[in-house]
Subunit: 466 residues, 2 copies
């Protein structure tokens, strides 16, 4: 009996090792194809330089959808379609401004007389925020270091401009932890200030960068309170303003012009490749096609889009034939609505589709380090066994938490295992939602290696299921 068990065990181990070896070779082949022949970088150049910003509703959105459809068509798939969804259509409406005015002391060196000084800060209105219009909001600025500090000063902010000067913490090694810690001031700052009667808010940009670029991003309102203007300011100007406020009372005039046009039609761009053995088991790999209006959206999330397209190209180039059905999806409207992601999940539910796995790349085109998963524990245990297969390509840190904004609805609706690519995070918040998120900020090899690791994971899920 023991002999039988031992033989069976030996057979299983041998089989496992042989399979692992086959998988190593296949992943090596995928990697070679992508590292040598990738079109991701040139695709990204076109998307960022020829199309550029592509916020939901904009002409850039329309052009980028057409571009995505054409890329998929050129490579080829069994079915390529535009999945319609209504998207919000927020527009900036004008040039955002924040001008500080204060009395310059007469006795300062080089300034002969006391007089009114003005300084224009480098600012950008938060996405979804309502504009002040050309008349602007002029009021005294009250700095708060946190929401707790706001509570202490709640009787002093009525009619004032609240300046949230909460610094992105640099000692989190993973910058997304610093982002999670700080981003509540962008999301909830306007509501919290409006509750106490503030006239507008200005927030320290959610970044640790070394420059002065302001970083936008979505904010929200509560119907119980006024929709006050809300802008972000560059870090150096935030420091200047804080220093200024320590010395004297300071007024500011904020002018923003944001508003919503009626919802309009956007699309998820989808390429489907039928599986040969289990066509009803669907694997999704994707990224979001929209970007904020103030940048080229190279890392966020042009990188993920061209990686998604590259995986299809590379699989075709090496003659791969999937067992399961793989969908390559460029999602609409991640930045200020998630209408694309929600639509995709709703349609999947309506058609009673079996979605076994979904993977998103939406953390920048940097060197891959691993993947974060939201799954049942036993599924995660299975996934963990593949770490060693990805180790040579860098993406072997599998964490039991993760996914993507556009694919999380699949998990919530259908229980699908979802995963997000985890690239090196050190540079991401230098660029995130700022004017310097441009093509030049992306490195070709780092971008390609992301596609390599994603393709390898998709290959393993396709071969073995979950």
């Amino acid at each position: 009996m023991i002999k039988v068990i031992a033989s069976t065990l030996l057979l299983l181990v041998t089989f496992f090792c042989a399979a692992q070896n086959d998988d190593s070779l296949m992943i090596r082949k995928i990697a070679g194809e992508i590292l040598n022949n990738s079109e991701a970088y040139e695709n990204l150049r076109f998307l960022t330089k020829k199309i550029g910003p592509r916020l939901a509703g904009s002409q850039g959105m329309v052009k980028s959808e057409k571009w995505g459809y054409e890329r998929f068509t050129k490579i080829g798939a069994d079915k390529i379609w535009m999945q319609e969804c209504m998207v919000p259509y927020w527009v900036r409406g004008g040039k955002d401004e924040a001008v500080v005015s204060y009395i310059q002391s007469a006795n300062k060196v080089g300034v002969p007389d006391a007089r009114l000084q003005k300084k224009s800060l480098d600012v950008i209105a938060l996405g979804n925020s309502m504009g002040s219009g050309a008349k602007g909001v002029t009021a005294q600025v009250v700095e708060v270091s946190s929401f707790d500090d706001l509570e202490k000063k709640k009787n002093a902010v009525k009619g004032k401009i609240v300046f949230y000067n909460y610094a992105f913490k640099k000692d989190f090694v993973e910058t997304f932890d610093g982002y999670s810690d700080a981003v509540k001031y962008r999301g909830n700052g306007p509501i919290s200030a409006a509750k106490y009667g503030a006239a507008a808010v200005i927030i320290r940009s959610i970044s640790h960068g070394e420059n002065n670029h302001p970083h936008t991003g979505g904010t929200r309102y509560d119907s119980a309170y006024p929709k006050i203007p809300a802008i972000a300011v560059g870090l150096q100007d935030a420091d200047w303003l804080s220093n200024q406020l320590k010395q004297k009372k300071t007024n500011m005039t904020i002018k923003t012009y944001g508003y919503f046009k009626p919802d309009t039609i956007g699309h998820n761009v989808i390429a489907e490749w039928k599986g040969s053995a289990f066509p009803n088991e669907i694997i999704t790999v994707g990224a979001h096609l929209d970007s904020w209006d103030n940048c080229e959206g190279a890392h966020d999330d042009g990188a993920g889009c061209v990686q998604t397209i590259e995986i299809l190209r590379a699989f075709k180039a090496i003659g791969y034939q999937p067992k399961r059905t793989i969908r390559f999806v460029l999602f609409a409207n991640e930045e200020n609505g998630v209408r694309g992601g929600n639509k995709y999940a709703a349609a999947a539910k309506e058609k009673n589709e079996n979605h076994v796995f979904a993977l998103e790349s939406d953390a920048g085109g940097f060197t891959p380090r691993g993947f974060g998963f939201t799954s049942k524990p036993e599924v995660f245990a299975k996934l963990k066994m593949w770490e060693n297969l990805l180790a040579p390509y860098g993406g072997s840190k599998f964490l039991p938490e993760g996914g993507g904004v556009d694919i999380n609805p699949l998990n919530r609706t259908l229980g699908t295992t979802v995963a997000g690519l985890l690239p090196d995070s050190q540079r991401y918040f230098d660029y995130h939602h700022a004017r310097n998120d441009v093509f030049e900020a992306v490195n070709k090899r780092e971008l390609d290696l992301g596609a390599v690791n994603m393709a390898a994971l998709i290959y393993l899920v396709d071969k073995y299921g979950l």
Copy 2:
């Protein structure tokens, strides 16, 4: 008895866990100090922008040594000194040129008549190469794809210019593997071509970058053969030239002006901090202060220098007191002589010093991934136990191979365990020895994290010895 063993074991495990916990807290403290208060980035700005190139023998070398001495003095150490060594003094001597001339076909669109065309390539003479002088070398170009290919064409290269067009392989995931594979054409190309009577060589730059910058770097000659001119050409121009040669015979004129002045005095800049418990056990941490003359030497190796200085600053800032003696060393002349590294080891041997460990950062200021060690196996086994302590900071991949050009002499001479920081390698050869190795190519957080991981490793070696 079993009870006693069990108790002892429990005690040991408890002790080990408590020690690990203490170490975690100390490393956390070091990391916090560096990530929040690092001066490395501003030091790098000064070294690159105010001093700039600093090849051995140059005025930049002299200025940078003075700067290093002053930085150490400002922070403070028990002893700071300049360790003199004679260094080679190679100078470029003029503007390197490579001009291709060929007959343009008459029937090409837009070109009315057959006529002589000229095209200037983006080139740079290899370090240590001897110039052609202003008269230049004019000859037909013969392309070879490899040394094997040169062997086949050895009877066809006499009096010609040999064009080594060996491409840096992109499918090595770690780019240093691609570099090791290709760099022999830079190092040995001139000798191999001169052996068969070639008049000069032009090599495809040792890079996989997306631009056309030529990359220099040291080459060598053999006294048995003529010291022929040797230049590197940018990748896009290399592709153009190769394509040109497929169509027609092509001549080239190369003009370079390199020569050696007499050896001159350079210095290793050293700050020594005496150990409180084992002052005779010496730990060295360092980088090389010299750079090639065509760039700011930001990644190579300004980054390593400012990380070295930062570790001293951070240790002082948190009130650390080392048990062993730590030396912070900015080495002279790594790029074209290693005279500084050799001098340091020779002096150590002469004084019969006990060097237990040496660490170098010379692979760029990118996000750290680990360390490579050259040590006895039992020492490496001990080091491996610290991987988990470094994991939160990224530098936890400990490999049993590595060191640094400037500290390897310590290993060879005294058997010292040596280690090299292993940062992410994807971008390094975009910049290496090229004009774009400038301050702007370095990211502050990536640079600081390198210092964090180096400091943590130094702390562990200082506490526990090797």
